[in-house]
Amino acid sequence: MLLTSYFLAALAIALAWPTPLALSKAKWITRAPVQAVLLWQAIALGGGLSMIGSMLVWGLTPLGDNLISALHGGWRLLMGDPGVQYPGVVHLFALSTAFLFGFHLVLTLIRAAWRTSRQRAKHRQLLLLLSNPSETRPNTLVIDHDMPVAYCVPGISNSVTVLSRGLLTQLTPEEQQAVITHERSHLDQRHDLLILAFTAWNEALPWLPTSKLALEAVRQLIEMLADDRALERVNRQTLLKAIVTVATAAAVEESTSANNSANAQLVGMPGGEVSSRRLQRLLSPENSLNRPSRILVLTSTVLLLACPTGLLIAPTLLSWN
C-alpha cells in the first residue's frame, strides 16, 4: 500500500508537469491529431486519478493491506468497532483531502456544464428570432448579415449550424462545403464535450499552468480534426481560401469594434506559435505518423489510464512480498 501510494504520487507529478509540457511542444501531434487528443485525455484523467489515488491509498495504509480490506476497516472504524486501530491525524488529513479534491473536480465539471448549457439556450433563443432555416440544408440556420460567419451550437438533439448570408454570397459552393463539413464534424464528434471537460479541468486547477496548456492544445487539435474531415470532401486550396475569407472578415470586425475586443483576443487566442500550426499543416502537408509510432502513442494512452486504475483496485500489485 505504501509503495503504491508513492508510485501514484510520482505518476501524478509526472502527469501534472513534465508530460503536458513535453506534449505541448511535440512536433508529431499535427501528424496524428486523433491520437494526440486521446493522449491528452488520458493525461488529464490519469493525472486526476493518480492524484486522488495516491492520497487515498496512503491515507488508508494503516487500515488494511489492500483497498477492499482498508475500506472495510474504515467502515468498522466508523461503526465504532474498538478492534480497529485509529489511523492518526495525518492519514485522516490525506483521506479528507482526497475526498475534497474529488468532489471539487466533479462539482467544477457540473458547474461548467450547467453554465454552458444555459448560455447555449440563451443564444439559441435569440437565434430563433433572428434567423431563418436554410432552404437547402438540414439543421442549418441562416442569419441575415453581410459578414461571412459560420459556427455551430452543439446540443444533445438540437445541434444546429449557423451560417450568415455574407458567407453564402462571398464563398463559392465548394468553399461553403468546406466550412459546413468542418462545422458538422465538430458537432458529430462532440468536440464541445471535450472542450467542456478541459475547460472545467482548467477552472478546477487554475494554479496548475499545464491545465491551460492542455486546453489550448485540445482546442487546436479539434480544429485539425475538423479540417481533416473537410479535406475528405474538398481540396486544401479550397479549405484555405474559405478560412482566409472568414478569418479576414472577422479580424476586420474585431479591430473596428470596441477596444475590449483586443483584450478578448489576447485571452482567447494566446500563443501565436501554437495557433498557427493548424495553418502550417494545411500549407505544407505532412505525412501522417507511421503505424509503429501511432501504436506506441495508443499504448501509452492505455497504460496511463490502466496503471492508476489497476493500482487503485489492487494496490498490493506493487509490493515487496
Partner: protein
C-alpha cells in the same frame, strides 16, 4: 394554432418593423392581417407572449398609457450584431458554447495566409 415560439417570432418581427410602440390589440390585428389562423388568436394570448418576451429582456412596456404599449428593446440589427459578436468573440469559455470555423486564427495570421494564397494564385 401556431406555437408560442412562432408567435414570439411574429410579434418581435412586428415590433422591430414598427416605428412606434404597439398595444396588444394593435399586435393582434397585425397578426390577423398576416393571415395565419388569426381568428383563434385572443388578446390574452398576445399578452402572454409579450410577457414572456418582456421577461427575456427583448420587449419594453410603456406603463404610462392605458392600454400598455410595447416596443422592442433594441433593433433587429443590434441583436444580430450581438449574436455574431458572441460567435466571434473569444471569451474564455465561448468555444465550449459554440464552435467557430476560424477558431484560433489571429488577424496577423489571416493577413499572411492571404498573402501566401495570392502569391500562389499569381504564380
Amino acid at each position: 394554432m401556431a406555437s408560442l415560439g412562432d408567435l414570439e417570432r411574429s410579434v418581435m418581427d412586428l415590433l422591430w418593423d414598427s416605428a412606434e410602440p404597439l398595444t396588444a390589440n394593435d399586435l393582434r390585428d397585425d397578426l390577423a392581417a398576416l393571415g395565419t389562423d388569426a381568428k383563434e388568436l385572443a388578446v390574452t394570448t398576445v399578452l402572454t407572449v409579450l410577457a414572456r418576451l418582456e421577461k427575456k429582456g427583448l420587449v419594453e412596456r410603456e406603463r404610462s398609457t392605458r392600454p400598455h404599449r410595447y416596443a422592442a428593446c433594441s433593433s433587429r440589427e443590434d441583436h444580430t450584431v450581438g449574436l455574431l459578436n458572441e460567435a466571434l468573440g473569444s471569451a474564455q469559455d465561448r468555444e465550449a458554447v459554440l464552435a467557430r470555423f476560424i477558431g484560433g486564427i489571429t488577424a496577423d495570421e489571416a493577413a499572411s495566409l492571404r498573402a501566401i494564397l495570392d502569391s500562389v494564385k499569381s504564380a
